[in-house]
């Protein structure tokens, strides 16, 4: 998270997914922002990209009358979990090669 080396875009996507998966009922953008350590405006763009590729599920919160409350929660899809698994495996192989 606070590593000395600059995180690549893929590292950031993986961190976002790792943080989101901690919230099984869906995490709000501010919480994800604190967890990832990225400002909300920049995070929104990345979460939208993940959502567009089917790695993140966007859930609209409803108010008491059942209408959209304008608040969104984010959850990880199976494809997102698959991405994470492959990401960490690749990281492992690269670590074994000394990268």
């Amino acid at each position: 998270m606070t590593g000395r080396t600059k995180r690549t875009k893929v590292d950031l996507y993986a961190t976002i997914l790792e943080v989101i998966r901690r919230y099984p009922e869906g995490g709000r953008i501010t919480r994800i922002s604190y967890g990832v350590g990225v400002p909300v405006d920049r995070l929104k763009v990345m979460v939208e990209a993940l959502s567009a590729n089917g790695l993140v599920r966007k859930i609209a919160a409803e108010d008491e009358e059942g209408d959209e409350a304008g608040v969104y929660y984010y959850g990880v899809t199976n494809r997102g979990l698959e991405f994470l698994e492959i990401y960490w495996k690749m990281k492992g192989f690269l670590a074994a090669f000394g990268d």
């Binding site: 998270m1 606070t2 993986a14 961190t15 790792e18 943080v19 998966r21 901690r22 919230y23 995490g27 501010t30 919480r31 994800i32 604190y34 967890g35 990832v36 350590g37 994470l84 990401y87 960490w88 495996k89 990281k91 492992g92 192989f93 670590a95 074994a96």
Partner: protein, 414 residues
Amino acid sequence: MPDVYVEKGSTTRLDNVDGELRVGRGAKIAAKGKAVTVAKGAYFEGNAEIDCDFECDSLTVEKGKLIVSGNLTVHKGLDVAHTVDVGGTISAHDIDVGGKMFARSVSCVDSVRVGGIVEVKERLEAVSVEVGGKVDVSGAVKLTDLSVGGKADVGGGVIKGHTSVGGVFSSTGPLEFGELQVYGRCALPAGSKGKKLSTFGKLSVEGNLACEQVDVGGLTTVRGDLSSSEVLVNGKLDVSGSLSTKGMLEVNGSCEVGGELMGADLRVGGRFKARKALLSNQADIAGEVDTVKGLKGKSIVIRTGTRCKGPLVGERVELGKSGLVLANWGTRWAGQSVMMRGIGRMTDAEDIYGADVVLGSNGRCRRIFAERVELSDGCAVDKVTYTQELRRSTGRQFLTHPAEKVAVLPPFPL
């Protein structure tokens, strides 16, 4: 004192609050006595500081950072949207932190969920800990499950259940674990023990390791002895001491043991090297085996195309007889790969000692000392010494010296 509201930016001294406590942004709370106790929930609207021990039923920090200089006790849930920094111990039923959590020690009845980072200077006790990014515990941990998105450093302790680490895991003190799964790098100290260990990358152990099941996908170095029930090596395993297994050691990659291997079964599809190997059951070799003092087993099967250094000792030793039928692992990738490599190659060995020795075609060895010997077409032997029977096929065998029948065989090594 019923419900209490602490104004934004103010500093207030409190004692016991019978109802709820609501605290405005930037407020500071100190105790009239030793601690502040809130009977119901405590709500913090933003950044806040508590300069004493604090106890409440539930705690919510809607935004910002909560700093507690003393101990923080929450009977139900601790919910911090951003950051919590506690100088003492956090005791709670369950903890949910949006971003970061810092504490001297943490004791949680149920689960700890942290979006980003956890740093604990002393002990961490919980049923499950889930961290999005990084966890750093200087002292010992006592957990059932640990799941870390990126990096975890602990000072030893016990993790009874499942530990899953996305990237890097290290323990500075001896760790007792249930199932440890590391996708990247893992470093354990001497004296660690566990039930199951699987790594896809690099594992280094700075001394002895005891683990019931070891599954190595990448590089693994044990600077001591390794004892296990089952070991599967698909990558590279280096053990500087001895390796003991109750069941199977399967090497599809490379395994080097500085001392001796003691176990029941050995299956090599890659490369195996040890000072000596003592097996109570079978060795099934289809690759390269190098033992300085020798390899001893009840039954030794050396598949076609295999190269063996060091003497082989067994009740029944079969060399280069069965190359294309790779026992029960011919359907697997490693077995098929070995089969392809073995086709058309000579099978090399040094001295062979046994009750029954069978040399297949294209099998080549130095000396054979056995009760019964069977030689197939095309095999080559320096010398055969036997006590009961020598069976030779109708074709040609290449013997440098004539076979010798003796009353008593010389003592076997190992």
